[in-house]
Symmetry: C2
Subunit: 429 residues, 2 copies
């Protein structure tokens, strides 16, 4: 037959060329058994340790540039790779080796009435594009998870980590190639400009899914402009609802843990809702505990009423506070008439990440978990448990806040699709 | 608290108003137990039978308008509702009653090392938008499947079926409302223009998923322009590969069944690939059988060489033929050097719907199923089995050809998302 010759490398942009190479690599990766992928992951972990100096040296250039640009110390800290941190990243890769390979898992299977055997099996998604911000450890985490699940990955990191990412990807590709797998399974998307993001978003058919990880504006841009399917991650306007029947000590502990244990992450609480019947007993305790934790309270009028008797910093809440993901030592707070009003508030304002109820009432717990539709609903537990590691997935590529495909913490199975295999003996309809 | 007043009905367009009403209905539907949803479905089936005359009368207006516009008889046939067809639609609704409710199914669950109980349970997607063409039976099918799975549905049918759809949705809403469920769970999207499709595609946050069902241009429009997540359905450029080790009688039967049993559907075969070692024995038999079935063959040079000795209508294949979904009594055909070349051809041209291999070789079957990445890979079975009914799903909302969320025939579970329920005793991190 006269098959058309496809020479994609002649006339395409660097990003599209990278996507074609990723597609070819994905075809090679898909049928690989676990052992070959695990060997490549072991080679990656070893190479990260052997070539630590090279990585730290490249990272130093990013740090120097960031300091010149007057970047804040907290962001510089997130950008920094020390030998210890590189070792920790290598250790994370070894943890991925220990995880089961989702590819080939039979999701369901049965014999149809006509004798056909039907099996639905997990297969890699194919080519996964990750668009992410500063932290260079994401480069290795994402590459390792994609490789383990048989996917080729296109990594589009931030320009502030360009030297670090370039060095890391060079190490990863050398290790993968040295293991006999296609080095193009892991590629850094060329170009530091936003154009490369735009090209990724147009590469439908070459790229199977885009996963943006980072700030709200990055995610919004990808969600609204990509014609490649997207998995939306990360925004967490999480609520703690203290029910009329709550154990007050437990409620204070869960509130403080949810808000203040690590305020900068998406599963930290951003709004406290209190049933009016427990407000007199709970709110003063809560305000003092929040004050001890250094948290500023953005309060509705009914919470404000308790402020004069409290040592807490309490300010009046404005409209925006109910939808704000502070990611800081701030919390919005309101008294609600009952559980259904709490649900109503959550439906209106929540980003659908995680909401917790504190209650001793079985009926309240049941109603809250039925009515609240977020990736995770916690009963008498901190919002901070919404996490791939906490859930026992061993690793996490992100936390999906959308309803399609994956919702909540995404582990290795969430990086797969499925296909049906139909086996007959000459069956026709 | 000073909760903001949300009066969406004041200033919004009719489509967005409908979406807000659907969102409210979805909130009410989500926690409903199966029995209440089944009662509403039974009321729908009864109402369709009781009010058949009203439906057929409305349909007659669409038919008359279609005839005036010079619409082809085959399309008019698809548009037509007779009393028998309405009874069949009612019977389909009763079949949905018999299906298990996916909502509440525990997908996975375990106790974490810290004692927290983790459960992942199926929940409705929320608001499902279906954009579809002529056939008014889709109106009822889609509404019944969405209702059963706890979703509110926004139905955007074609203007050619406007009177029929309006009558059907009136009957459905009356039945649902009469059962005590929110009538707004089922709405026909107002407006016959393309603007209403555009508005649906922009309604991110109100509409959870759009499912286009229809021709390639409809699907392409939705996929490329929607910021609401989309499930792509339907295009089927399906292949039958006859391996060197095929049973020739079986291969002819599967080829003819795949191509000619019902050529107008997405799981019909569009391309035949033949291993060169079996071409002399198979191709003449295949050409004669295709001729008997009335199929025109669009052949590559190596198939063309067999044409002079055949009674078949054989024309030269052009570049476009390899990617064409004929949906007619036409098939593209080529001889390939080996199985890997067949896989290469499929990777290049297939829409990823269904590919079949005919072989007696276990090694060939295994390699083909490993390397071909389509929703369905059939071994010694017709491509025509890729179907929700055939797979035993009991019903089908469409066949997804994308990799995210659902792939292949979509039954009720594919109309759900999941949420995690985390239950502790005051657990904090």
């Amino acid at each position: 037959m006269t098959s058309p010759s496809l020479n994609p490398y002649d006339s395409l942009t660097p990003v599209t060329q990278a996507a074609y190479r990723a597609r070819a690599a994905a075809n090679d990766l898909a049928p690989l058994p676990r052992a070959e992928k695990d060997d490549a992951l072991a080679a990656i972990a070893d190479a990260l340790e052997v070539r630590t100096a090279e990585i730290v040296k490249a990272n130093a250039k990013d740090i120097a540039r960031a300091r010149e640009a007057g970047t804040s110390e907290s962001i510089i800290d997130r950008l920094t790779l020390t030998p210890e941190r590189v070792r920790a990243i290598a250790s994370d890769v070894r943890d991925v080796i220990a995880l089961p390979d989702p590819v080939g898992t039979v999701v369901r299977g049965n014999t149809l009435p006509n004798g056909i055997d039907l099996r639905q099996v997990r297969v890699p998604l194919g080519v996964v594009g990750i668009i992410y911000e500063a932290r260079p450890n994401v480069t290795v985490d994402a590459a390792a998870l994609c490789l383990k699940s048989g996917n080729a990955v296109l990594l589009r990191g931030s320009s502030s980590a360009y030297e670090s990412n370039t060095a890391l990807v060079r190490v990863l590709r050398d290790a993968v190639g040295g293991s006999g797998l296609p080095a193009d399974a892991i590629q850094l998307v060329p170009g530091e400009s936003r154009d490369s993001v735009t090209e990724l978003m147009r590469a439908r058919g070459l790229v199977d899914v885009l996963i943006p990880r980072g700030g709200a504006s990055l995610i919004k841009n990808v969600v609204e402009n990509s014609i490649v399917p997207v998995i939306e991650t990360g925004t967490g306007n999480c609520h703690v609802y203290v029910d009329a029947a709550a154990d007050i000590d437990m409620a204070v502990d869960i509130l403080i843990n949810s808000k203040a244990q690590r305020p900068s992450v998406c599963n930290a609480a951003e709004t406290l809702l209190v049933h009016q019947d427990i407000a007199d007993a709970f709110v003063p305790r809560a305000l003092d505990a929040l004050a001890d934790a250094g948290v500023t309270v953005h309060a509705d009028p009914r919470i404000l009423a308790y402020a004069p008797q409290s040592k807490a910093t309490v300010v009046e809440a404005h409209h925006d506070d109910w939808e704000t993901e502070y990611l800081s030592y701030d919390i919005a707070a309101a008294v609600v008439d009952d559980l259904d009003k709490a649900v109503e508030h959550i439906r209106l304002w929540s980003s659908g990440h995680t909401e917790a109820i504190v209650t001793t009432s079985q009926a309240a717990a049941r109603r809250f978990t039925q009515l609240v539709d977020s990736t995770t609903v916690a009963v008498n537990a901190s919002t901070r448990f919404t996490d791939g590691g906490q859930f026992g997935f061993g690793a996490e590529i992100g936390i999906s806040t959308q309803k399609l495909h994956a919702r909540g913490p995404m582990g290795l199975p969430e990086l797969t699709s499925t296909k049906y295999i139909v086996t007959g003996d000459g069956h026709i309809r």
